[in-house]
């Protein structure tokens, strides 16, 4: 049984597109295909005029640095035996650019808001938010053009989420990045996505600018997501009102 069947979307350079859906809607599969961890059985993935699905592994290797992924669970996406420096340097090591490694790693750490003095500490000693920042630094190491964030913000507490979102916006501006966000939290991505695609049961059921999706949801799945987002926002407002 196919996880994903009928998916179609386009991202413009410098834009942020979010794929939103419930668990099992197939969004992670899409993310992995775009990041070239998996090959779709049919269909094409175009990256600036090149169809990635047609490339052999050697040719694909030249594209990989330009498409990077940040995973949901920071702790599993990094080898617990590694230090922060080793984690960030890894893409450079593999690409054979180790020479610029240490300096660049320190610069990246500063940029994402983790003190470079801690670069020799084991990953285990960092908090969830710090690890996600380090993951971002690693993703930026190879100077990518597009970042895929697979539920990268969902697992964090709300205040950390806000900080990371701000960081993402800053980075996007500084490096002209394009983002593909994967999330189940419509309210979260609505804050900074330009285009939203709704996924349900392995298909994109709706696609459009954020304002459109939120104010005029067409598909049943979309309406459900919007409704629950609004409900939690109302509840939060009610609690805030009640306590103030």
């Amino acid at each position: 049984m196919a996880a994903v069947r009928d998916v179609h979307f386009e991202i413009q350079r410098g834009q942020t597109l979010a794929l939103v859906g419930e668990s099992g809607s197939g969004k992670s599969t899409v993310a992995r295909c775009v990041a070239c961890f998996e090959k779709p059985e049919s269909g094409q993935i175009f990256f600036q005029e090149t169809d990635l699905t047609r490339l052999g592994s050697r040719e694909l290797a030249s594209f990989r640095p330009r498409i990077q992924m940040v995973f949901q669970d920071a702790i599993t996406s990094m080898n617990p035996r590694f230090s922060a420096l080793e984690v960030i340097e890894e893409p450079l090591q593999i690409a054979g650019q180790a020479a610029e490694g240490s300096g660049r790693a320190c610069a990246l750490m500063t940029e994402v808001g983790v003190s470079p003095d801690w670069r020799h500490r084991s990953i285990r000693h960092f908090s969830g938010g710090q690890r996600q920042r380090i993951a971002l630094a690693r993703a930026l190491a190879s100077r990518p053009e597009i970042l895929i964030l697979d539920e990268a913000i969902s697992g964090l507490d709300l205040s950390t989420q806000a900080q990371i979102v701000n960081l993402l916006l800053d980075l996007q501006e500084a490096h002209s990045l394009t983002y593909l966000l994967i999330s189940h939290d419509l309210a979260l991505v609505a804050q900074f996505a330009d285009v939203i695609g709704i996924m349900a049961a392995g298909q994109t059921v709706e696609l459009g600018p954020t304002s459109e999706i939120v104010s005029h949801p067409q598909h049943a799945a979309t309406r459900k997501l919007v409704a629950s987002a609004k409900a939690s926002a109302t509840a939060l407002a009610a609690i805030t009102d009640a306590s103030s």
Binding site: A35, C36, F37, A61, R64, P65, Q68, M69, F71, D73, T76, S77, M78, N79, R81, E90, P91, I94, A95, R138, S142
Partner: protein, 342 residues
């Protein structure tokens, strides 16, 4: 590290060191027969002699009882006292197989004999045989373990890393090997190989066979671990950065399996020592006159020897002590491994 673990490791290290220098630590040539002293019990140590109490113990000679109801047995003849001496010149041996030497850790003046563990049916010093035999048995265990882990580890890594049909095929083969009653198979394989070879060749053949039969379980365990590590997100990420197979194996996968290999090693060594002992006991392993804990025990198959000459149990005690030490170390390592992975 806990006290118990430290003691265990120290004890094991001591045993291995002593056995490594078996020729030096043993007072006599293990092959030297003395028909006059067949089945002699261990010589008791005396501190109080004709000239008063000494700090240095001495032994008396064994003489055969000629008449009376104990005829054929031994009694002490203390007319001559043979004190324990250290660093004695005795039978010559080849140190590390190359250097001729004849220095022994302890001994006594001829014709006295210090018999820590008595003598066997041919009058050979059981203690010397215990040490030299131990060297062979433990070396067999260690080498066989190395072979099993090397081959099993390689297969496990290949199966776990490349997956799919390679994995299926290799695991199918391990199932064949795991379903065999290992001793039957060991016997069978040994049967097909030449029975009478030089002692060295027999030894290597034996260890090779034991090791090659035991590769299946480590292979399965390593494969399981490699499979799980390979699918972890950080390995996927490294692949995403363009990491080659060699890189992934070297940096991410291999560091994870050392712990498993060590635990397996400590588990397998006593089993393979026992396997060598069992084979030699049956006459299919190391054969006379080269001693091994196994073939030293085969004399015990006669009931009279089993009951009357209890000092000949020494190899059994040695086997048990070594196995228990290794097992308790294995338990510690295993629980440490468990706590690391959970």
């Amino acid at each position: 590290m806990a006290l118990k673990t430290s003691i265990t490791i120290a004890a094991l290290a001591a045993i291995h060191l002593v056995l490594l220098a078996a020729d030096f630590c043993a007072p006599y040539d293990p092959a030297l027969q003395d028909r006059e002293l067949s089945y002699a019990p261990p010589t008791p140590a005396h501190f109080k002699g004709s000239t008063g109490v000494h700090l240095r113990p001495f032994v008396c000679a064994w003489t055969t009882v000629m008449e009376g109801e104990d005829a054929g047995g031994y009694k002490e003849d203390c007319r001559h006292e043979y004190p324990l001496r250290f660093f004695v010149r005795g039978a010559s041996y080849k140190f590390a197989g190359v250097y001729e030497a004849n220095l022994h850790l302890f001994g006594t003046d001829a014709p006295g004999k210090i018999l820590f563990a008595g003598t066997d049916g041919y009058g050979r010093d059981e203690f010397s045989r215990l040490l030299c035999g131990g060297r062979i048995s433990i070396a067999a265990g260690l080498i066989a373990t190395f072979i099993a882990l090397l081959s099993g580890g390689l297969v496990g890594i290949i199966a776990g890393y490349f997956g799919r049909w390679v994995d299926e095929a290799l695991m199918g083969v391990t199932e064949v090997f795991l379903s065999l009653p290992w001793l039957y198979f060991l016997l069978g394989v040994r049967a097909f190989l030449p029975l009478h070879l030089s002692a060295l060749r027999t030894f290597f053949l034996l260890t090779g066979v034991i090791g090659l039969i035991g590769w299946a379980r480590p292979a399965r365990l390593v494969r399981g671990l490699v499979l799980s590590v390979r699918s972890r997100n950080y390995v996927l990420a490294a692949r995403g950065f363009g990491g080659s197979h060699v890189y992934l194996l070297r940096k991410h996968i291999l560091p994870e399996i050392w712990g498993l290999l060590l635990t397996q090693a400590v588990l397998l060594v006593p089993r393979y020592i026992a396997a060598e002992a069992t084979l030699s006991f049956f006459g299919l392993g190391v054969s006379e006159p080269v001693p091994s804990w196994g073939n030293m025990l085969s004399g015990l198959q006669q009931y009279s020897v089993l009951i009357s000459y209890r000092w000949l149990w020494a190899p059994a005690c040695a086997l048990v002590i070594t196995s228990v030490l290794y097992s308790s170390l294995a338990d510690v390592l295993h629980s440490r491994l468990e706590s690391q992975t959970t």
